[in-house]
C-alpha cells in the first residue's frame, strides 16, 4: 500500500505530526519504503541502494520513549525521510559514486553532512544514483543504471545529482542531499521541478563526501519547498573541525524564509544580467519563465537592477581546467590496490604494478571519468601547467571579483539555471554540448557563491518543469532564501511531485494523491 500522504508532507508537518503523536516514525519509514518499492525499481531508478535497517533503527529511536528519543524528536529534521547521493559516506553502506571502481566499497565512516541530518532526527532511506564520480549533467554516466525523470520517464533527470532530485520529485523521500561542482544540484532540480540549493563554498562540510573538484564541490539539499531546503541547510551547515575549508556560519536559513513569507521583500534589489536573456541556445520557455519571475518580483516590490558579469563567459573554460585537474588528483587513489581490485581482468592481465594500475583504471572507470582524468593529467603536466592551470586560476579571481562588484549593487541575482528543459536519453551525445548545459551554473562554483534553483511551473512548449536561479553574495545565502521564499509564493499552484505518483497511487489503492505540493 502506498502511504504517500506521509512522504508528501513538508519537513515541518512531519516533525509536528510526529511530536503531536499523529503518526509514528515507523509509519513514515514504512510509507517511504513502500513508495520506493512501487516507484523505484524499473520506473524511476533513483536508488543505488536502500537502507531499510538503518531507517527502522532511526525510526525506533524516534518512537521509543526515552531521553534520547526526546532529543532526536526535537531535531529539526525529526522523522523526515532522507536519502543521500552515493558519493556520501554513511558507515556500513555502499558508497559507489556510481562507479565500478567502488562497486564493492563499504563506508567505514560517515560524512559530516550525513551525520548532521541523522543527529537532527532524519530517517535514512538509502543512497542515490548519480553520474559516475559526479562527472556529467544527466546521470547517464552512472556505471549501474539510468535514472528517469519522474515527469517524463523518457527523459533524463539531469545530473549529476539525478538520483537525488528524482527521489524527491517522485515523493519517495522528503528531502535528499546532493553535491554541486558545476550545477549538479541546481540543474537536475530544475529538470525535475524541485528546489535545489548549492550553498556558498564552505557553508557545508565536505568531510566524507567523495571529492570531484575539491575547490568547487559543495553539498546542498534538495526538497519540494524553499522551507524544506532551508531547514535542511540549517541542519547541515557550519564549521567542521574535519574540513578546514568549512566556515563558521550560523543556521538561520529557515528564519530568513519565515521572515520573507511574513514581511515580503519590498525594496530588495534583484540583479538581472541582460545578456543572459539572449544567450545562445537558450530556449524560449526558459526566457519566458525568467521574465515572468522578474515581473513577479517587481510586483512584490523588489527593485530590478541590470548588472554585468563581463568575465562570466570565461567560467566554462576555467572550470574545464580546474575541475579535471583536481579530479585527476582526487581519483588517483582508485588504483586497484585497495579499490576496484575484484576485477578478474585486472587480476589476470597485470604483469607488474604499472600494468595493474593501467588495467584496473581502464576497466574501472567509465569514458567520462577517463576523459576528465586524462584531461587533468595533461593540463597539470610540466610545460602545460603554466598555459592552462595558472591562467584558469587568474580567470577565477576575475570572475569572483565580477560577482563581488555586482553584489555591491544588488542583494541577489536572478538567472536561468539551464538553457533548456530536461532532454531525452542520448539526445545530448557529444561531451561539449553536455558541458554547455551548465553555462549558467558553473560561474557560481568558480566564484564560490551560493545559488538556488526554484521551479516556476511547466514550460509552455515542453510541458516540463522550468526553473530560475537565485544567486547570492558569498556567505549571503540568507538573501537567497528570502528572495526564493517570496518568489515561491507567486506560484501557489505548481506541483512539486511529478504526476507519476497520481497514476500509481490511484492504481495501488484508489486513493487520490493529496495536493500537498507547497503553499
Amino acid at each position: 500500500m502506498l502511504r504517500s500522504e506521509y512522504t508528501n508532507l513538508s519537513v515541518v508537518d512531519i516533525r509536528e505530526g510526529l511530536n503531536a503523536g499523529n503518526f509514528s516514525a515507523k509509519e513514515i519509514a514504512d510509507a517511504s519504503l513502500s513508495c520506493i518499492d512501487a516507484l523505484d525499481a524499473g520506473v524511476v531508478d533513483a536508488f543505488l541502494s536502500t537502507t531499510p535497517m538503518l531507517a527502522y533503527e532511526a525510526a525506533e529511536k524516534l518512537d521509543t520513549n526515552s531521553a534520547k528519543s526526546a532529543q532526536v524528536k526535537a531535531g529539526i529534521l525529526a522523522g523526515v525521510p532522507i536519502a543521500f547521493k552515493d558519493n556520501m559516506n554513511l558507515m556500513g553502506t555502499h558508497t559507489t559514486c556510481a562507479s565500478k571502481m567502488l562497486a564493492d566499497y563499504i563506508s567505514p565512516y560517515t560524512a559530516t553532512c550525513v551525520a548532521k541530518t541523522l543527529a537532527a532526527g532524519a530517517i535514512p532511506m538509502g543512497k542515490l544514483n548519480m553520474d559516475e564520480f559526479a562527472f556529467g549533467s544527466s546521470t547517464e554516466t552512472s556505471a549501474f543504471k539510468l535514472t528517469r525523470n519522474p515527469w517524463d520517464l523518457e527523459r533524463v533527470p539531469g545530473g549529476s545529482s539525478g538520483g537525488s532530485v528524482a527521489a524527491v520529485a517522485s515523493g519517495m523521500v522528503t528531502v535528499a542531499l546532493g553535491s554541486d561542482t558545476g550545477g549538479s544540484i541546481r540543474q537536475p532540480a530544475a529538470f525535475c521541478g524541485v528546489v535545489g540549493f548549492k550553498p556558498t563554498y564552505g557553508v557545508v562540510s565536505r568531510y566524507g563526501v567523495v571529492a570531484f573538484g575539491s575547490s568547487l564541490d559543495q553539498v546542498g539539499p534538495i526538497g519540494r519547498s524553499v522551507a524544506d531546503v532551508a531547514i535542511t541547510t540549517d541542519a547541515i551547515c557550519g564549521r567542521d573541525p574535519l574540513d578546514c575549508t568549512s566556515q563558521d556560519v550560523n543556521p538561520g536559513y529557515y528564519n530568513s524564509v519565515l521572515a520573507a513569507q511574513q514581511k515580503g521583500i519590498k525594496g530588495m534589489k534583484i540583479g538581472v544580467v541582460p545578456e543572459y536573456l539572449e544567450a545562445p541556445g537558450i530556449e524560449r520557455e526558459v526566457v519566458k519563465a525568467l521574465k515572468g519571475a522578474i515581473a513577479n518580483l517587481q510586483e512584490l516590490g523588489a527593485q530590478i537592477v541590470d548588472v554585468s558579469l563581463p568575465n562570466a563567459q570565461a567560467a566554462l573554460a576555467a572550470y574545464y581546467v580546474i575541475g579535471p585537474c583536481e579530479a585527476f588528483s582526487n581519483l588517483s587513489r582508485f588504483d586497484s590496490v585497495r579499490y576496484g581490485n575484484k576485477n578478474d581482468v585486472v587480476q589476470t592481465a597485470a604483469t607488474d604494478l604499472g600494468s595493474r594500475y593501467e588495467q584496473a583504471r581502464a576497466h574501472g572507470f567509465g569514458p567520462e571519468a577517463i576523459r576528465r582524468i586524462m584531461l587533468g593529467s595533461y593540463l597539470l603536466s610540466s610545460g602545460v601547467y603554466n598555459t592552462y592551470y595558472y591562467p584558469a586560476q587568474q580567470v577565477r579571481t576575475l570572475i569572483t571579483k565580477d560577482y563581488q562588484q555586482a553584489f555591491e549593487q544588488v542583494d541577489v541575482i536572478l538567472a536561468p539555471v539551464s538553457p533548456r528543459t530536461a532532454f531525452k536519453f542520448g539526445e545530448v551525445g557529444d561531451p561539449t554540448s553536455m558541458y554547455l548545459s551548465d553555462i549558467f551554473t558553473i560561474p557560481i562554483n568558480i566564484a564560490g557563491n551560493g545559488g538556488l534553483s526554484l521551479p516556476v511551473g511547466l514550460g509552455e512548449d515542453s510541458g516540463l518543469p522550468v526553473a530560475v536561479q537565485i544567486i547570492g553574495p558569498q556567505f549571503g545565502d540568507y538573501a537567497i532564501m528570502r528572495a526564493a521564499a517570496a518568489l515561491e509564493q507567486c506560484y501557489p499552484d505548481i506541483r512539486r511531485i511529478a504526476p507519476l505518483m497520481d497514476s500509481l497511487n490511484a492504481s495501488a489503492n484508489g486513493l487520490k494523491s493529496p495536493e500537498r505540493g507547497v503553499a
Binding site: 565512516y109 568531510y207 566524507g208 588517483s332 587513489r333 610540466s382
Partner: protein, 548 residues
Amino acid sequence: MKDLQTVLREWEAVIGLEVHTELTTLNTKMFCSCKIEFGALPNTHVCPVCLGLPGALPVPNKAAIQSIVLAGLATNCKIQKRSMFYRKNYFYPDMSKNFQTTQGPIAFCMDGWLSLDVNGNAAKERVDVVANKSADSSCQQGGQQNCQLAAVATQTSLGYSTHIGITRIHMEEDAGKMIHVGGTDGRITGSDYSLVDYNRCGTPLIELVTEPDLRTPEEARLFLQKLRSIYLTLGISDCSMEEGSLRCDGNVSLRKRGSSKLGVKTELKNMNSFKNLHDGLAYEICRQAEVLENGGTVAQETRHWEPANKRTVSMRVKETADDYRLFPEPDLAPYDLSDEFVEKCRARLPELPDAKAKRYFDDYEVAASDAMNLAADVELSAFFDDALLNIKNNEKTEGLATPCQALAQPIANMLLNDVVAYLNSNNLLIGDTQLTAAAICELAELRVRDAISSKQAKEVLMMLAKDGGSANAIVNELGIEQVSDASELETVIDTILAQFPEKVEQYRGGKLGLMGFFVGQAMKETKGQGNPQLLNKILSEKLDASEA
C-alpha cells in the same frame, strides 16, 4: 680505484644533501589526529584521513608548523609568512592517496645557512683550505651576519671552517611502509606479494635541502651531525637514523679543480648512518673519478649504497625528470603565519649547540673541541650544565678561587671519556645511570685537590654510574683518599730512609733504580694512599739533598 685523498687532489667534489626528518616528538600526524608510534602493530594508527579513504580531508597539525619554524629559525632561514601546500602526484601503494601533500616553490623556511667547523683528521680531506685573512670570528657560533663565502674553507687553529647554504626546509607527509614477501632482495620486483603498513603514512616530515656547498664526505657527515644535534636540541625529532626518523640522500658530482662548471650528478640513497653517509659519498666520488678518468661520462641516475659490499649500485636511470604534476592542494587554504606566531617560536628557541660550545669555551675555559663535543650532545650538555649549576650553588667549593673554571674541564674529561665509553658499551643514556651532577662535582674536586689518583677517580666514577651515591662517601668508605699532606709523607720517608741506610748509600752511589724501591716502601707504609707524585718529589729532594 684510486683512494679518496688522491682523487680529491685532482677533482673537486660538489655535494648537496636532502635530509628528511620525521617530527617524531609530536603526538599526532600531519593531517589527522592519529598517534605517531614506531614499531606499533601494522595498521593500528590509521584513520580515514591517513588511509586516504574516499571523502576524507586533511587538517594541518599546528604543532608541526611550530616545529618547522623552529628548525628554520635555528638554521638561519627566512621564515615565509605565506606559503602553500601542494599535491605531488605519483602512484605507489605506500602513498594512500597516490599524492603526497608537500610544499610548492615557497616553503615555510627559505634561504638559510649553517657554519661548519672541520677539525683534526676530518680536515685532511679538504685540500683547498685558505688562510683566514680577516680573522673575523663574529660569524662563528650562531652570529647573525652571513659573513663567509659559501663552501670556502677558511683555516682555523684546529682545522678549517666553512659555510653551507640551506636552500629550503619544507613540510610534507611521510608515506607508509611496504614489505615485499618472497623474492630474493626484498624489492617489489620478483616478490610474491607485498604488504602495506600505513602507520607511518601521514607522519609529519620536514625536508631540508642544502645548496651544493659541501666538498668532502667528512663535511657531509659533520653537517648531518650538526643538523641532528640542532634538531635534538630543538626537541622536534628523535633523529634516529636506525629507525628511519632521520634520512639523508646525497647528490654528488665531480669537476676538475679550477673548473666552475658542474658535472653530471648522481643521487645516492640508503646511507642510513653517519659512517654510511661518509663511506657512500667517498666511494661514489672515487667511482665517478674512475669513470671520468677513463674517458667515460657519469650517468644521471639514482644509486643505492650497499654497506656490506662497500659499493654503490644503479637503482634507476633518470632519462627525463619525473613529472609530479605539482599543483596547490585545494583542500588546504594558503598558510599565513602571523608575526606573533613566528616571534612566539623564536622565544621558544633553546640555546643551540654553537652558542653552548662558545659558552663552555668562553666562560668555563673548556677546550674548544671538548666544548663542541659536549654541546653537540643534548643529554651530556644538559648534565654538564647541571654540574656547573651545582658548583655555583655549592659552598664547599669556595676554597677554589674559580671553582667553575677549575672543575669544568675535569668534569668534561670524565663525561667525554669514561662516561661516554660506559654509556656506549651499555647502550644507555646518561639519564639511565645513577650518576648525579652533585657526585661528579665532588669527584672532580677530589681529583683537583689530588685527593685521589686518576685511576681511583675512574673506579669511583664507574661505581657512581652503577650504584649512585656521593663521591666523598665512597672514597671515605673505601679509605682510598690519597695522602697528600707533605709533612705526613716526610715523616714516613724519614723512617724508611733510616730503616735502609745501605740502600740509601747504594742510591747515592749511582744506583738510581732504587728510587722505585723507596716509593714502594712508602706506598706500603701509607697503605697505597700516598700521593705518588708528592712521594717521588720528597724522596728525590731528601736523597739528592743529603748527597750535597
